[in-house]
Symmetry: C2
Subunit: 367 residues, 2 copies
Amino acid sequence: MKIDGKHFRSLWWNYDDAVLEIIDQRWLPHDLRIQQVKTMQDFADAIYEMRVRGAPLIGATAAYGVALAMANDPSDGNLDDAWTFLEKTRPTAINLRWALDRCRNILKPMDEHDRAAAALQLAHDISDEDVEINRKIGENGLALIRDIAARKPEGEPVRLLTHCNAGWIATVDWGTATSPMYHAHDAGLPIHVWVDETRPRNQGALTSWELGSHGIPHTYITDNAGGHLMQHGQVDMVITGTDRTTRRGDVCNKIGTYLKALAARDNGVPFYVALPSPTIDWTVDDGVAEIPIEERDARETTHIMGKLEDGSIGTVQVTPDGTPGGNPAFDVTPNHLVTGLITERGVCAATPEGLGGLFPEFVQAAE
Amino acid sequence: MKIDGKHFRSLWWNYDDAVLEIIDQRWLPHDLRIQQVKTMQDFADAIYEMRVRGAPLIGATAAYGVALAMANDPSDGNLDDAWTFLEKTRPTAINLRWALDRCRNILKPMDEHDRAAAALQLAHDISDEDVEINRKIGENGLALIRDIAARKPEGEPVRLLTHCNAGWIATVDWGTATSPMYHAHDAGLPIHVWVDETRPRNQGALTSWELGSHGIPHTYITDNAGGHLMQHGQVDMVITGTDRTTRRGDVCNKIGTYLKALAARDNGVPFYVALPSPTIDWTVDDGVAEIPIEERDARETTHIMGKLEDGSIGTVQVTPDGTPGGNPAFDVTPNHLVTGLITERGVCAATPEGLGGLFPEFVQAAE
């Protein structure tokens, strides 16, 4: 999408230097810094340190990581090593494993000397496919927003709430949860977005930056506020993204999503999850029981980064010295709290039948 | 309770200087600053800027404000003016109005020249009563914790979760939600407390400071984390405070409390609210419909204060420049989500009958 009128993707291939370039998102929303990702360690850092973040973008980045590995050493051993090295950077992100598996499965049967060029083309393809998937998610979500708008007085905005940043910078373009918002806004449908802050890493600031850059009305709120807003009829629809979706439609997304789903159910607010099909893990059924939740550095909870009064970027410690912190990064929203799943193939119920109906070939492959 | 081994209250009368002293809580947990509250504007600032915070402490502070007003000018007009001036500083805090009403009702019938001394004694009494009320809340809550401990393996800690700071620094001493914790710990019952950060003002850092100073094991978590912890059996009981409780037991507390109550119900975790009876508003029944929710400065959501790397106190801006913020400060948890109310007279159901059984004289007075 656009920044100051110029169209960007979240990553792109620099053909002059033959290198991947990314937006180093750690400095957003305050500073737009571009980084060249040159070494395998650069790739691991980019994913682990969340310079790139969001399930689809992590997958595309990892594909370029495999391409670099193949350019360095196209042997079978190095292909396996690259898979292992990149996979461990973010255990929860299903797209990461999906992209790595896809690369390995395609490259393994090839002659070694063909692998470097093929791996790079594959990374390009994965990126382009992601853009197209998200565009379709936007079209499908737009239909839901239109339905709500049709039941409201003419011109009154549809009020959406979102958690975390499932925006274009969490994908290659469009975003997942934000794609219906961009589509609605561009279609002239008035919307207003409640943006959850999303502690501990405040990805809501990224969503605010995205929406503001695109001209979409929004309000930044604490994660605590959504329940109150729903109680008072201020939310027409929730749309979030997901890092991993189970076969039956349980949704593993940024910590706190589950609480919003509970509030939505308690207040009769539709709760939708936007997802590209690569985030579906067809091997997992019960998300609460089966998905391991990444426990991240406690410092993320006790220290907060932002812009200081002098304009520089700094960190404040909120808690007393030595306070022990706990930092589970994701939670699982059981499928019965999810009104529907917005995919590139359409909207379906969060059930085995719903997902199976849209993606029969994956169900068969998993059986 | 104790700071570095020395016992403090949250406010106290300095007899040498004939002035109220408070802990200016804006600098906690990083710095313990004592302030003398000398003028009516000082009192308004102390309450509005949350130098003192927490319903019971606000009430006690306001009583000292009335005492100052009576020392300055004990006329009927000034008594009414002081009531109005102090009442508007925090519209949600029922204790504030309760304390102001009590002062006015007692002082109004008196000779003007008796009012200054009587008002000061009344403020002392309100403070001492608060300490005694909270001590009893602790005893009553302790019985609930003992029941849970009795059902667990010997020596395994009872895991409590709390939201905001309903601690001793939110009262004159002991705290409300924390009083059962201090009582349990002092009785040798092992506990562990999950401390919600409580955005936007991070009162969880205050709770961590309190609990750490007293030696109670605890972990600081984001507001988003509690649902996940409950899903995985990591929480035995939730105890929060309340700023205002309705006649039927709806609980108006710090924004986000409602979300924790929803998660507790969804996971079968008992959800208790500790409250001194002055926080009960016998004139209100339906909290969601009837209680006006204070909307505070949006800057509280977009900017966060803490300790910088050089040890000084500073503020970081988390969002892009100009991001609009929304900041409802409280929400209402409907009574059907509340397992029980812990009061100074015992534990009761969050129902009209429950509260009426413990406080029959208030029900009659309100009818």
